[in-house]
């Protein structure tokens, strides 16, 4: 990897790593006796390891100028492997905490092993670790191909990927030590947040620099979505995480907002993390990989435009549906509900556009599990956006809120849509990236597909049942006009569903492990045909093929 950097870039890497090491040292010294200091030591160790790695390769010959004739894909390869590692770790922790709800004794009397500390390791692990790495990796791949331009340099993509993973590791290890802001899906503390802002700005600038080098006059629809993902996540992250640390040597900070304003800001963030991290980004992925794999152009250019701007505009209003019947003023609740219902239109336009793209390629969906992953993802995207709009309606929310129904809804989206489209995209790109004829085993892809689908369905049905039973039990009155069930009664009723959910999780996790193994074996097994390569790998020397030509309207 260091060999791929030019001399100047190697020096740049050393400067960055030295600055990071100094920061880590200062954190470790200033935060003795606090988790802040532990994270300082972690940063220090990681940067020193990085410095040794760069020095070790410092005198390697410079990369040949030929490299500029092809796309730079090594960062994408790294990002895909990182995503799969986070997938296995994040899903394993998720399933473990699912079992904890059925068998609460399994915490070994240790603080780090309790549900409350492990749960954010799961949520951040899968959303930011798995999802984020997959988004960054595929965005590098897609923006180069759709722009027919190589990344502007070799150092910046590595900074983005390593910096982002450092953020993820700081977040996950922090939760185990009890470092959390308690803001859901924005748990990392102030110093991790600042670091993520730096990484994110570099990522954004890298994206713009690549787009500016493009040889295609039009910016392809995937890039609109990736851009919206990068920009809006930055807006959300910065506003929601505004906080005052108690000192420069402590991990603890206090949010700038309180009470009702904080609640609204948090769910404006929380719902749009779903929108722009888990929807926009992955729609960008879908708009590239699904037409490529199916060999069909996107069904409708106009539908792409309508759904893109509809999603970007409507989603930002929807967050207040998380706060129905609370102390949030009713006018905000009503706005949130209204826009959530309207959101169904651009969401279904997107899902419809994706499924219609498969017209003429349905025989491939039948035969090819990779394309089937993407098709099922689009179906679950349509289902969970319908469910989301439905649950945002105030009287429905009265029943569903605070129950497992919400958890089931989130997982219909996260397992059915986000993970499925990601697995589809990864299975499609691994053979392209490593120049193989196909995955190591098509049967294992098939097995992964059915395990993932079965796991998702078991999970979602278990949570529908438990959530609705819970909601109904809480509001059931007996003949004398008093509440019929105690809270504990509803808890006892959940037990079988909690076990079913955890079993569904095992299915999904097994699928991911099989996927990891399959990817690993694909990389390790040399291709029979070494010359096999993707025709779209060369931005300059070959004519426009593939995706740019897929744009209707041109």
């Amino acid at each position: 990897m260091v060999a791929e950097l030019t001399k100047n870039e190697r020096q740049g890497a050393l400067v960055i790593l030295l600055a990071l090491a100094v920061t880590g040292l200062a954190m470790a010294a200033g935060g003795r006796g606090d988790p802040f200091g532990v994270h300082g030591a972690l940063v220090l160790v990681v940067s020193i390891a990085g410095i040794f790695a760069v020095i070790g390769g410092y005198y390697a010959p410079e990369p040949s100028p030929d490299r500029l004739d092809s796309y730079y894909d090594t960062p994408t390869k790294f990002g895909i492997i990182a995503a799969m590692v986070w997938a296995v770790v994040g899903m394993a922790v998720g399933d473990w905490v699912a079992w904890l709800l059925a068998y609460p004794e399994w915490t070994f009397d240790a603080a780090w092993a309790s549900f409350g500390r492990l749960r954010p390791v799961h949520t951040s692990g899968v959303i930011f670790g798995f999802g984020g790495n997959a988004l960054i990796a595929t965005s590098f791949y897609v923006m180069q191909r759709t722009s027919r331009a190589r990344l502007p340099d070799q150092l910046t993509p590595w900074f983005v990927l390593f910096g982002y993973n450092l953020f993820c590791v700081i977040a996950a290890t922090g939760y185990l030590m009890g470092v959390t802001q308690s803001k859901e899906y924005a748990e990392p503390e102030w110093y991790a947040d600042i670091w993520l802002v730096i990484v994110w700005v570099v990522y954004f600038v890298l994206y713009l620099r690549t787009l500016n080098r493009r040889k295609e006059p039009h910016i392809y629809v995937s890039n609109w979505y990736y851009l919206a993902f990068i920009l809006v996540v930055a807006m959300l992250h910065i506003v929601n995480n505004l906080a005052v640390p108690i000192s420069w040597g402590s991990a603890k900070s206090y949010s700038l907002f309180s009470g009702v304003q904080d609640a609204m800001t948090e769910w404006w963030y929380g719902h749009n993390a779903v929108a722009f991290f888990l929807t926009s980004g992955f729609l960008g992925m879908m708009y590239y990989y699904m037409p490529k794999r199916a060999g069909r152009p996107i069904y409708s250019y106009r539908m792409s435009i309508i759904s893109f701007w509809g999603i970007t505009f409507f989603y930002m209003w929807a967050g207040s549906h998380h706060l129905h019947y609370t102390a949030l003023p009713q006018w905000v609740q009503s706005l949130g509900m209204t826009f959530s219902v309207m959101l169904l239109v651009p969401s279904w336009v997107s899902a419809g556009n994706a499924l219609m793209t498969l017209n003429g390629a349905w025989h491939k969906v039948r035969d090819d599990a990779v394309l089937r992953f993407m098709m099922v993802a689009a179906v679950f995207y349509g289902l969970s956006t319908f469910e989301g709009s439905f649950m945002a309606i105030r009287p429905v929310n009265a029943l569903s809120h605070y129950t497992d129904w919400t958890v089931g809804h989130v997982h219909a989206g996260a397992l059915g849509w986000v993970a499925m489209i990601t697995f589809g995209a990864i299975y499609a790109s691994v053979p392209w990236l490593w120049k193989r004829n196909g995955m190591y085993s098509a049967k294992l892809v098939e097995a992964h597909f059915w395990l993932a689908l079965a796991g998702t369905i078991i999970y979602v049905f278990a949570m529908w049942n438990s959530g609705i039973i819970q909601g109904l039990m809480w509001r059931t009155y007996n003949e004398s006009g008093t509440l019929a069930y105690s809270f504990v009664d509803s808890l006892v009723a959940m037990h079988p569903y909690y076990i079913a959910r955890a079993v569904g999780g095992v299915f999904f996790l097994l699928g991911a492990i099989i996927g990891f193994y399959n990817i690993w074996m694909t990389i390790r097994t040399a291709s029979q045909d070494e010359t096999a390569h993707n025709t779209a790998d060369h931005p300059v020397t070959e004519p426009a093929v593939g995706v740019p030509a897929l744009q209707p309207g041109e």
């Binding site: 549900f115 910016i219 609109w224 851009l227 000192s247 206090y254 009470g259 009702v260 609204m264 505009f313």
Partner: protein, 245 residues
């Protein structure tokens, strides 16, 4: 429209500005007025701030992720009011940086938990939830009783709280560590300072049953016992609670 877009998508900067503009509107319309419209948060002249011990307990509640399973927001629904008590008012979390309204009830709502159970019950429940509620799925938090509470940085905590808008006085900030100790040691000289600074109604008790040492259990139980009791605005008729000054 599509012709316009056909030209727009050729300009990176056009797309970027378009996305920022379109995505900013919703949040701005829904969030900014919450800071300016007076009726958003009710007036509650009797509202007090958290004592240093309660704040430390609240930070333990946050650290352990209790908010993932317990809400602190009773909705305006009949069954919720009958199960948990008067529905939550915005003013009750006015000093909550951040708020802990929660989004999931794996366990029951805690907005009005304060003084519903005895200290002994809470301590027994934390050490082993299934000792008092056999069906409970809550993790055990026995280590809280073995862990000494860190008080040396409490002044900094109160100072940061004041920076974000909680009205702690200089006196409160200077005596934060002593007040934390005093609130859990009713017979010590430090106990008087707590009631002097935070009001006579402040609960001063050996929350974990052992006045001699100050543990994380003391802090957490002190916090749980103040939930819903910083103001009694929610127990007054609605018209009074919403009256302007």
């Amino acid at each position: 429209m599509f012709g316009f877009h056909y030209r727009l998508e050729r300009k990176t900067i056009g797309l970027v500005l378009g996305i920022i503009g379109v995505a900013s509107i919703g949040g701005f319309v829904e969030i900014a007025p919450l800071f300016t419209i007076h009726q958003t948060v009710e007036d509650a002249p009797d509202m007090r701030v958290y004592t240093p011990l309660e704040l430390a307990g609240r930070n333990i509640y946050i650290r352990e992720g209790c908010y993932a399973c317990h809400s602190q927001m009773i909705r305006t629904l009949r069954d919720e009011v009958e199960r948990y008590g008067p529905y939550s008012l915005a003013v009750e979390s006015k000093y909550d940086h951040p708020m802990l309204w929660g989004s999931k009830r794996t366990g029951p709502d805690l907005a009005r938990l304060g003084e519903k159970y005895s200290d002994d019950w809470h301590v027994a429940h934390m050490i082993n939830p299934r000792a008092v509620v056999p069906e409970s799925v809550m993790p055990a938090y026995a280590f809280l009783e073995r862990t000494e509470l860190r008080t040396d940085d409490l002044s900094k905590h109160l100072k940061a709280q004041r920076d974000v808008g909680v009205p702690y006085t200089d006196d409160m900030i200077a005596n934060a560590a002593a007040d934390a100790y005093g609130q859990a040691a009713p017979d010590s000289p430090a106990a008087d300072g707590v009631t002097k600074r935070y009001g006579k109604a402040t609960t001063v008790r050996a929350f974990d049953g052992k006045p001699s040492d100050l543990t994380e259990m003391d802090a957490l139980v002190a916090y749980l016992q103040i939930l819903g009791r910083l103001t009694d605005a929610a127990h007054k008729p609605v018209a009074t609670a919403e009256k302007k000054p």
